[in-house]
Structure formats: C-alpha cells, structure tokens
C-alpha cells in the first residue's frame, strides 16, 4: 500500500480511507468532511430518527443554508412558507444532533462549495461528501469530493462512511497558454464538449498540464466544479505550492509547526510523475476561445466565433434537435449577437472574488443595456465582504447591476430569483437544462463571468475580448 511510485492521488486517498470491503464487494469509505445544506438533508435526519440512530461524528459535519435563501429580503419568516419550513427543519436538526451551523446571519454563510474552501475546511488528501452534485468543486485541493443522495447523507451521518465502488482515473492535460479573455469556465466547457456529458461515467478526472498548474485555486475550483457536467463524479488537481499558499492562515487550517507537517502530508499524497492512468486526454489551451452554450446540456457549446452545429454532426442528432426546438434557433446561425433578457453572475461555479473582479473589470464605468435585468450574487457572505472592501459592489451598482446577498440564487431558482416565460439568460452558472432557471420555457446560455458582464452591457452575446484589448 505504501508504494512510492506509479500511484495517483486517487489511489492513495481511496486506500487511506478504506475501512473494509463489504459483503456486496463495495468499499466502505471513510468520509473526512461532510457538508450539508437545507435541501437534501431533512429526510436523512428523519431516517436517522426512524432508525433510532445518532450522528456518529458530529464534529465532521458542517451545515449552512444556500439553495433556498432569498438574496434580497432576508428577514424571517421568509415570504415563501416552504422555504421557511425547510430552513427551520435544518435549524432543528443541527441543534438536535450537535452539528456546527453557519446560518443565515452568520458571516460564514454561503454556498457550501464556496465556504468549504474559504474557511479551510476543505483540505488536500481528504474525502469529502455533500448532498449536491457540484461537490466535485473541492477536488481543486486534491480532495476526493463527490455528490451524494439523501439516503447516502443518512449513511454519512450515521456512520461517517459510504458504500462505494472504486473509479478509474482519467488524466486530462491542458497544455499551452490561455489567450486573453479565456477563463477557467471556457476550459471546462471545452473539456465537456470534447469528452461529452456522459464521457466521465466511471472515472475520476485528474486535471493537469501547464494551464491548470498556472491557475489560481479559484480557477481550479471552477474546473473541478463542472466535472459532474461531464459525467465524472470526481474531478481533482494535485496539491502544490498554490494550494498551500491559499490554505495558509485560514480558520480551520492547522497553524505553525502543525501547518508544516500538514504541507508535508499534502505533498506526499499527490500523484507520482510516473502515475498510471486508465486514460489520458491532451488538450491545447491556446486553441480555446470564449465559449458559450447554445443548447440544453453543458456539452452543447461553441466558441464565440463559431456557427451553431448541424444536428447531424452529433452522435445523437435527436438530442441536438430537441435542443434547437427548446432554444428556438437554427443550425448554422451565430451565437454572437444573440439577444438576452437577464444576466446572472453567481453560483458555485463562478461567484468567488476573482469571478466578481473579472466581471467588474468589464462593467466598470459602463451601463447595463436598457431592459436587461442583471444580478450579481456573491458566493458567500465572506466573498461579499471582500468584494465590498475593494469597492466592487459600487462598480456593479453604478453600472446598473443588482448587488445581492449570498446564495445559489438563479442557478437553480429555488429562491425568488427566477426567469420568466421564454427569457434568455447569460449565466455564469453550470447548467443549461430545460427549466433549470425557474421557468419551464426559460433559456440559459452558460459562459464566463466576464462574458456575462459584457452581455449585460450590450443586451446580447458579445466577444469579451473587445473589452480587453
């Protein structure tokens, strides 16, 4: 087990967290960190009560509220009585079972996948589970992090373990250099476009290559976040100096000599240079341009200068036709110039400080196009405070964006932030599924936060590079 070469981070972390091989042949895997929120947990706590069980390791679970919280009027009780009932259920459950909770008024509240890293809860070499598919975000730290369902949340609460099948590992190298105006979001959209929305089934994705190595932690989080949109349960980046620098001094990160020991451990779990992978994919970062989705899944994306593809170019022409039918445009037309109604900067994919800075850089001194509803929703109360400290909120407000409090907001529209009718939204979120942003007829164009800001200013999809020359 202590082999020193040929191993991946996935191999090492999987093995160090293996409790047993179960009679079903699955591995019983220890879960180092469990994050919970208001949506997928209430029935799990009910199941615990039905079984008469306690929470095995309450100190290894942390809770917050993100999915249903309003981002404007936050006084209690919420106007939405269902949202109020859900948050009360969580408040009752964390109190009864002794779980630390970053509630609505906490300065540590925010989207689970933003606050985990921000507080230093997320660390390299851990396993991390949460009842949310975008848990893959935390893989940016060299963490094996994955989304689970409610029954699995119950198992983690009751045992701090899960019954899991081992994955294969696919190494994805993004080499070369990104050109100006091309962001982490564009990189992951291109990875998904190339490998397909189901291409990652059965794999953990290990991202590397010069482009990823040069990326900040926030950019790596954007990449890992959307692994699940490519079908991969887990996506990760090996921890390096960038990772350690990010973690140093954060609330839940060890201090002093303990930090030095932690860094030594974190270094020891990274994949070896001669690690054996089940598959390797190489991409050239220089070929990526600002990218926008045109369809109803995140793999249906084009570069800003491309024409929309013909259905026959896909392995599933019927799927492409269904996308055109919903979106209401024609193959062969351009995505550039597509009219929008709403612009949304936010979500666990792109709501961190660097995302807000990138959007503010475009918005600064300019005005949102008349008639466009434009929202900026920081990923956490902490991100909001940092952004306000450097005046980003003023830039947005002066430009005509609404500056909101932290939450998932219009990514999945479980709070009052929703599309209406057939509205088209330029969105920095992660899913363009039919109905995703709250209206069954609504349409979502996924893109980077800078591209969203540029679209907001013009009322249509434009090439953000025009603002960066």
């Amino acid at each position: 087990m202590a082999q020193s070469s040929g191993r991946t981070l996935y191999d090492r972390v999987w093995e160090s967290h293996t409790v047993d091989i179960l009679p079903t042949g699955q591995t019983q895997l220890f879960v180092g960190l469990h994050l919970i929120h208001e949506i997928t947990t209430a029935p799990a706590f009910d199941m615990l009560r039905e079984k008469g069980l306690d929470v095995a390791f309450p100190e290894r679970t942390f809770a917050t509220v993100d999915h249903i919280v309003p981002t404007d009027m936050r006084s209690r009780p919420f106007l939405d009585s269902q949202a109020e009932e859900l948050i009360q259920a969580l408040e009752k459950n964390v109190s009864q079972f002794g779980i630390e909770f970053f509630g609505l008024d906490s300065d540590r509240q925010g989207i689970v996948h933003v606050i985990g890293p921000q507080l230093g809860l997320t660390q390299p070499g851990m396993t991390l589970a949460c009842g949310d598919s975008h848990t893959s975000t935390h893989g940016a730290f060299g963490t094996l992090a994955f989304g689970i369902g409610t029954s699995q949340v119950r198992d983690v609460l009751a045992t701090q373990t899960l019954a899991m099948d081992r994955l294969k590992v696919r190494r994805i190298n993004v080499d070369g250099m990104l050109s100006q105006g091309v962001y982490a979001k564009d990189v992951i959209l291109n990875i998904i476009r190339r490998l397909g929305v189901a291409g990652g089934k059965g794999f953990a994705y290990e991202y590397g290559g010069a482009v990823v190595e040069k990326m900040s932690m926030e950019e790596r989080m954007t990449i890992c976040n959307m692994s699940i949109e490519g079908g991969a349960l887990i996506g990760y980046v090996n921890p390096d100096a960038t990772t350690f620098e990010f973690l140093k001094g954060r609330e839940f990160v060890p201090k002093g000599a303990d930090f030095e020991r932690a860094v030594a451990y974190w270094k020891s779990i990274a994949s070896n240079l001669d690690a054996r992978y089940d598959d390797v994919v190489n991409m050239d970062g220089a070929k990526i341009e600002p990218t926008v989705t045109w369809g109803i899944n995140p793999g249906q994306a084009v570069g800003i200068s491309e024409k929309l593809p013909l259905p026959e170019e896909f392995s599933d022409p019927d799927g492409a036709k269904k996308a055109y039918e919903h979106m209401g445009w024609q193959p062969g037309s351009a995505i550039l110039g597509t009219t929008i109604n709403v612009a949304f900067v936010g979500s666990c994919t792109n709501s961190r400080l660097s995302d807000l800075r990138a959007a503010a850089k475009i918005a600064k001194g300019r005005k949102v196009h008349p008639g466009i509803r434009a929202l900026v929703v920081p990923g956490s109360a902490g991100v909001k405070a940092l952004a306000e400290k450097e005046g980003l909120h003023k830039i947005f407000i002066e430009a005509g964006f609404e500056w909101r409090a932290a939450g998932c907001s219009m990514c999945l529209a479980m709070n009052p932030d929703k599309l209406q009718g057939r509205e088209i939204c330029a969105s920095s979120s992660n899913r363009n599924f039919i109905g995703r942003q709250g209206s069954p007829g609504g349409r979502t164009l996924l893109m980077s936060p800078a591209m969203v800001a540029a679209a907001a200013l013009n009322g249509k999809v434009v090439d953000v590079r025009e603002y960066l020359q």
Binding site: G25, H67, S133, G147, G149, G202, P254, D258, R261
Partner: protein, 207 residues
C-alpha cells in the same frame, strides 16, 4: 452484520412498462427544483416529469406518463445517460412513488444510479439495439408484461429473453437486501474509528 430482512430483498420485477425516449434526460426534467422545497419525499410521486406533462395552467400535455395505454406500468424504459445532473434523490423517489419499480436503460448517470440502489430501485442496462427493440415492442403492444430478473440478469417478455447488466455490487446489494446500507456500515463502527485515528487531518497533524 444486521440481520437481512427478507421483505427488502429485490430479486425480480414483473409488470407493464412505459417508455420515455431521449438521451441525457436530466434530473431537473425528472423533477423540477421547486418540488425539492418539500421537507419529506411523501408527495414526490405526484411530480415526475411535471413540466413535461403539464402546461403552466395545469393542462396535461402529451407524455408517456400521461398516456392511458401505459397506466399502471412498473417498468420504465429509457435511453442513454438517464438521470444526469443534480444529485437530488427526489428524482428516483418521484419515479418509485409514481409506481416505477425497475428502470431499464442504455446507461445511467453515476449519482442517479447510486441513489436508485440506495432505495432498492434496480437500474439495469441493455444494449442500444435491445432498447430499441423493447421500446418498439412496447409501443406496438402496451399490454406486454416484462420481467426483469436480477438473479438471472435477464429481461424477458413473451418468448424473448435478453441479458441485462448492472454493477455486481449493486446486484448483490439488491438481491441480499443490503441496499439499505446503514446497518451494514454501522456494524463496522469500531473499524471506522480506527481508520479515523490514522488520518493526520483527523488527529490535527500533531506530531
């Protein structure tokens, strides 16, 4: 080990079927997010494919789940990458509570397939050619009864019999009734504590 409960063993599902055609049907389509605001799963059976089955005024739209020919189906036929997207267990819960007791597809998204096993709902795969045959047989004769046998790893109807696949661990969990895994995992709590005690981040990296 927790004693196996015979009632919870899932070995065979026999019944009429309903086809939902299309690849990459995501969990937002299976159950729109607004229904996730309910604190229990108890009413999820009212909501599967809601926005595809009803317009904004509540008027039914053409959809296999609204089609009288497929009423009472307990077998669901789907195509590729069914259940992609969100981890919401509400999706398989909605299907199960609607009356679906086995899903047969060309492939399933990872978290969705895991959720199905955890609630004792088998999700099995067949080849693309076999799925096309199944959907056509069903659309031609909606009264056809299909039998999915997890022990034999087969699906049969009339004289026809074809192989089905599912991860061996899922098959074992279903046929032995250990899909409700809490008891099995909890029995190892001593070992869990030992593993936790060996992990440097649990012990605080102290020397």
């Amino acid at each position: 080990m927790e004693e196996m409960n015979a009632v919870s063993q899932v070995t065979k599902v026999v019944g009429k079927a309903v086809p939902v055609r299309g690849n990459d049907i995501d969990t937002d389509r299976i159950i729109p997010a607004r229904y996730l605001k309910e604190v229990t799963f108890s009413r999820m059976g009212e909501y599967p494919f809601f926005d595809e089955r009803f317009d904004s005024s509540g008027k039914p739209k053409p959809h296999p789940f609204n089609d009288a020919r497929f009423q009472g189906a307990s077998v669901l036929f789907v195509n590729r990458n069914f259940g992609c997207g969100s981890s919401r267990e509400h999706a398989p819960q909605a299907l199960y509570r609607f009356g679906i007791h086995v899903i047969v597809g060309e492939s399933f998204a990872a978290i969705f397939a895991g959720n199905c096993v955890m609630m004792g709902l088998p999700a099995v795969t067949v080849s693309s050619a076999d799925m096309e045959e199944l959907m056509q047989s069903l659309e031609k004769n909606p009264l056809t009864v299909y039998a999915v046998d997890l022990e034999a790893k087969s699906l049969s109807y009339g004289e026809r019999r074809m192989p089905v696949e599912l991860p061996e661990s899922s098959r074992k969990a279903l046929i032995t009734g250990s899909w409700d895994s809490t008891g099995m995992l909890r029995a190892n709590l001593d070992k869990v504590k030992k593993v936790a005690g060996r992990l440097p981040y649990v012990t605080g990296f102290t020397g």
